[in-house]
């Protein structure tokens, strides 16, 4: 008899909050500065320095707490997590232990709204510096610019059932964070990082299996691949009578596999205790309600609203709302009078493809909602064809000229004048007697050829619908 195994996954996400200055000092959080130039006695942990909490970091944490439907602590305190590592200037990290700023939250999946991923805790802490091992042959190098960047750690309960679910949770979480404008969620620059706890157990078993902690996954796709690999590895181990050992494993994208980083024997004793250098922070309920009132509309609510107010499918809306800027673009174009369906088709089709191809985002693409609405207007008025529109779209994005300006400039105006088209048709009929005969003998394919010839003669400017209709009339 074979036993079926199921995975149990919990995710731990670290998000850098989009503040200008660090969490406990006034140094800049900008990415890519000269090494050790955005540092001060506080973030370097020099003797005698003291932390003071950044108000915006705290407010961002509250927004996320509410955005993830969490309960929020009335009195927030910080704790020290003690461990030795050269990227940690004080050899303790100011973090939160037994009273995270928020707890008991939830994220509802879009693919299956009955699935709710429980969020165990959300807490604020400081980031560590950056270590480089390959620059020098005898030394590792430390840059403390990143040390003290505000981080929010968001931890789920072990309730995720598959790599796909993990991927979707991450995509929705990122979407919420972008809607809340609390982080740029840029994974390349490390502003969003994800670790996973993963175990497998026989289906029907209620106890959790021995878990591995999975690190070093640099994209959502890597999380998915890493989890899939681990599920297979652990399942194979158990099926062959082996045991999973509790350890930290690194995902290696090159070999598409995981390997042991450290085992539990070397586990830390972090000696958490209340941070005496910071005072307690109160979150009065009235204040919390005012933060809640000021929250922007979040993806789930937006999805419901767009489903109700447009003729778009659930799938289309789900994709549109994921990225706040795309959704904003969509709504702006619709407000300018363009039909929702057309805007959605353009956004999810040609525009997304062009963005992906060029590695751009909608806000640095060059296209405005006005341009898209105008383009759609030009198509529906018959001024340009759909095919012309595809070209104009790309050119508009590049040149910043509006579609109307481009049509004028390039003389691309579609020929819809019947007299003009009829005279082209007559020329084509005269020069293609065989095709005309074929058509009249029932070969409908010949019509396609003749339409093509008319389009060619008009240099693509004739309105294809009108060509089609007039040609049929003409051929009887």
């Amino acid at each position: 008899m074979t036993v079926a195994y199921e995975p149990v996954i919990g995710l731990e996400v670290h998000v850098q909050l989009a503040t200008d200055s660090k969490i406990f000092c006034s140094c800049s959080t900008k990415f890519g500065l000269t090494p050790n130039s955005a540092v001060c006695p506080v973030c370097l942990g020099f003797p005698g320095s003291l932390p003071v909490l950044n108000r915006k970091a705290f407010q961002c944490a509250l927004k996320v707490a509410l955005g993830l439907n969490c309960r929020v602590q009335e009195i927030v305190k910080f704790d020290r997590k003690n461990y030795y590592y050269p990227d940690l200037p004080k050899n303790y990290q100011i973090s939160q232990y037994d009273k995270p700023i928020a707890y008991d939250g939830s994220v509802r999946l879009m693919s299956d709204p009955s699935r709710v991923i429980a969020v165990r805790r959300v807490h604020l802490e400081e980031d560590a510096g950056k270590l480089m091992h390959d620059q020098d042959k005898t030394y590792s190098l430390v840059d403390y610019n990143r040390a003290g960047t505000p981080l929010l750690e968001i931890v789920t309960e072990p309730v995720i059932r598959s790599p796909d679910e993990a991927y979707e949770y991450l995509a929705i979480l990122k979407s919420i964070l972008l809607y809340l404008e609390v982080s740029d969620c840029n994974m390349e620059e490390g502003s969003l990082r994800c670790d996973a706890n993963i175990s497998v157990r026989a289906c029907g078993e209620t106890k959790l299996g021995v878990k591995a902690e999975l690190k070093n996954m640099n994209s959502f796709k890597a999380v998915k691949a890493g989890l899939a690999y681990e599920i297979k590895r652990q399942t194979d181990l158990l099926e062959s009578g082996g045991k999973v050992s509790q350890e930290t494993r690194l995902w290696d994208a090159d070999s598409a596999s995981t390997r042991t980083m450290r085992s539990k024997e070397e586990a830390h004793d972090y000696r958490y205790f209340p941070e005496p250098d910071l005072v307690p922070f109160h979150v009065p309920r009235e204040y919390l309600e005012s933060v809640r009132k000021d929250l922007p509309e979040l993806p789930a609510a937006r999805k419901d609203r767009l489903l109700a107010s447009t003729d778009l499918s659930e799938r289309e809306v789900s994709v549109l709302i994921m990225e706040k800027k795309i959704a904003d673009f969509f709504e702006a174009a619709v407000r300018l009078g363009a039909p929702a369906k057309a805007v959605s088709n353009w956004l999810l089709g040609d525009i997304m493809a062009d963005l992906n191809g060029k590695g751009l985002t909608i806000d640095n693409y060059g296209l405005t909602p006005f341009m898209l609405a105008e383009l759609i207007g030009l198509i529906s008025s018959g001024t340009i064809s759909g095919r012309m529109a595809k070209e104009i779209l790309k050119e508009a994005a590049q040149t910043k000229l509006t579609p109307k300006e481009l049509v004028e400039k390039k003389g691309l105006r579609q020929i819809s004048d019947q007299g003009e088209i009829v005279s082209i048709i007559d020329t084509v009929i005269a020069g293609n007697e065989k095709s005309v005969t074929d058509y009249r003998n029932g070969k409908t394919n010949a019509l396609m050829f003749l339409v093509g010839q008319v389009m060619k003669h008009s240099k693509g400017k004739a309105n294809p619908d009108i060509v089609n209709r007039l040609l049929r009339d003409r051929l009887g």
Partner: protein
Amino acid sequence: MKTYNEYLKRIDEVDGRIRAFVHIDREAIHEEARRAKQGFLAGVPVAIKDNLCVRGEPTTCASRILAGFRPPYDAKVVEKLRASGALLFGKVNMDEFAFGSSCETSCYGPTRNPWDTGRIPGGSSGGSAAAVSSGEVPMALGSDTGGSIRQPAALCGVVGLKPTYGVVSRYGLIAFASSLDQIGPITKNVADAARLLTVIAGHDERDSTSVERKGTDYTKALIKDVRGLTIGIPKEYFIAGIDPDVDRAVKKAIQCLRDCGAHTVDISLPHSRYAVSCYYIIAPAEASSNLGRYDGVQYGLRGDESRGMIDMYSDTRTRGFGAEAKRRILLGTFSLSSGYYDAYYLKALKVRTKITEDFTNAFKQCDVIITPTTPTAAFKIGERVNDPLRMYLSDIFTIPANLAGIPGISVPCGFTGEHLPVGMQILGKHFDEETLFRAAYTFEQNTDHHLKEPPL
């Protein structure tokens, strides 16, 4: 008033015997003095305890592990001193990282008590107290975590004040135990303590635990009148085991204040007996974390790096810290470690609550509380080094104020049969330094103990 040059001369004369100074830059002092000095402390020499950061000057906490460290910033109190026109007069000795009550754990060797150079000056601010007592400077800054200002002040026959926690910014004070540390003045007389506190007190946006209060001129509290003042006398602080000479001197001082018109009332601080135990959990625990940063990565001593990172850490710390620092790091790490946290650290935080409540209750009946500052006068160098517990008990009367965060001042109140100074401790309500000054000043103006000079 003596000129700063006379103070420099005095240092030349006596510091070979006292060894209060660990660093003094005479050129820099002359240069500072040449600039026109204005302000509340214009031209007044102030010695700085070696755990306070002075920009570009060696700041070592009397520890090998900070050898060569020159902070690129000033402590807030140092900034304030500069702004007041004071002359920064070098760095003075202390117990390593303020761990001690005798100045014997300093990597520079012990400072001597000016009243008997065979004895300790007290600690950890022993250098500050000895420098003031021997007339090398009129004022010094110390820091007090469990008595480190008041105890050496008492043993050296000078005035030492630990302000309410939060009155003076800790920014730039190299932390021992962050929830207990306070910087304060050590001076020849009460008026100077009030002057110095007026300069260093005040809110600092860089210290979250510093208190927002309006600028206070503490010299206005120098009132020679205690009529109507109620003094609490806690029975738990006048017990068997304290030196009879100390007991006699403090009781005589209380009688003096009574004669000046103060009332006394017997009070009880029943949990004070647990203060030393409570303190030796909390303070080392915080210290073990605060001292984690001394690892040879960014500053100070670096040990052998040939065997990798972890060995570099341990070698740096093993060579850099003295025995008492190691003892406290071990004790603090133990009480925070998993399995012991609840039984020790959490328990101590709860006992701290009880000790604080004792004071809150007591201050319903009285305005100030008077106790001996220390159970005995200065002991001999070497007498307690090998008995840490006995050393810890030297601070039995001063520790409760740190746990409760209340202010305390030690003023000279007499001498033992061996002609060693005795200190009287006056404790007050949170942020009521003014009443401490009033009581201390009235006592001082009615006695002459503060006028006596050590036989150097």
